[in-house]
Subunit: 218 residues, 2 copies
């Protein structure tokens, strides 16, 4: 019975998400759903991406957080439009929340929309938000076993960003360990190792993302 | 209606948890529920604690994981009894799972029982497992804002372990930032900064834990 309830919930969500995806596509807005464990650096990645691509693209961010508006404040300070969704302890965003956020924004000038999901490697997995691209961020200090422990979210993502690679010399975990395990789960994952601290890898990620936004092959 | 369902679910859980707590107390087993985000180092902390206290206490571990048995293999290699619970993607343990795990173990020789919860800062919050002590582990590279973003789990924990302090010289986040934010949420949190890599702080944590196990004031 619990499974039926969940199925019916995600079925309604899937329809709302599909409508959002179509609407955004018609408006030439490319939408990226970013998922990860807490503290992997999603917000910093968005800040660095705004910094790199803000001249080429008009960027907006929908920020998901259990309670605070710390992250929307950070991306607004970078010059991006930001809408905060507080889930009041809820463990993922859903398409109805995104619908409401979009209805509160002037979407006409936007080229690229980031959705920063709640920090969680389980709950966001099956909740389509109408995105065109799902990016999972792994932080190098989290260790290399996360793709094996959380295979669903790695299976349903298109892109893996490995953040905090500047710490690699101090850690037992290597980026290769993470990539090998991630590709065991999802061999088609496009991988970008980056350091939001030193800037390493940010240009490669942003150049690739810009091509995705413009509908060009990766 | 959703809230009612959840309330009734946790009410049943609370009763089971209370029975477990009483039963463990009668058997002189001290039970510690460890919660954190994925990759904070819960398993490594348990390994280091077994290494430090294994001569004084007979230690068992109930390992919660969405899918793998990687962690129970690790603590078994340290000489501890370990029982694996796979939640099949479920985002937290509950008292019924602990009941089942306990029924599968010979608990008579155990002094200290660790429960390693699923890596998640939201879902485990309101699920009492019958523990005597709840420990939240924060990893320094996760940043200092997690207590503010996930206040419920910090409110309902007794002890905060700040792991990976060996990386502090390389990070913008300091242990003080985390402690200050954690104490804003829960001023009675007992804090232990540790590095499972260098061993710093492990003795202080283990000495304190040993006193808790023996019912002595911290």
């Amino acid at each position: 019975m619990r499974i039926e309830v969940n199925k019916s919930l995600t079925a309604v969500n899937d329809k709302t998400a599909e409508k959002i995806r179509t609407e955004l596509q018609e408006k030439n807005i490319f939408c990226v759903n970013i998922v990860s464990a807490p503290g992997s650096g999603k917000t910093t990645l968005i800040e660095k991406t705004i910094s790199q691509l803000g001249k080429n693209l008009r960027i907006a961010v929908i920020e998901g957080d259990p309670h605070t508006d710390l992250d929307s404040g950070r991306v607004q300070a970078m010059g991006a439009v930001a809408v905060q969704i507080n889930t009041q302890g809820g463990c993922h965003l859903d398409a109805a929340m995104i619908r409401k956020a979009l209805d509160s924004m002037d979407t006409s000038p936007i080229d690229l929309l980031f959705i920063e999901n709640v920090g969680n490697l389980l709950c966001p997995t099956f909740w389509d938000l109408g995105e065109h691209l799902r990016v999972v961020v792994a932080s190098l200090p989290e260790g290399s076993d996360k793709p094996l422990k959380y295979p669903e979210i790695y299976s349903l993502s298109h892109t893996l960003i490995i953040n905090k690679i500047d710490l690699e010399p101090l850690l037992k975990t290597t980026r290769k360990d993470i990539i090998d395990n991630a590709h065991l789960i999802n061999s088609s994952l496009q991988v970008f190792p980056v350091s939001c601290e030193t800037g390493e890898g940010i240009k490669e990620w942003c150049d690739w993302l810009l091509r995705q936004c413009k509908g060009m092959p990766g």
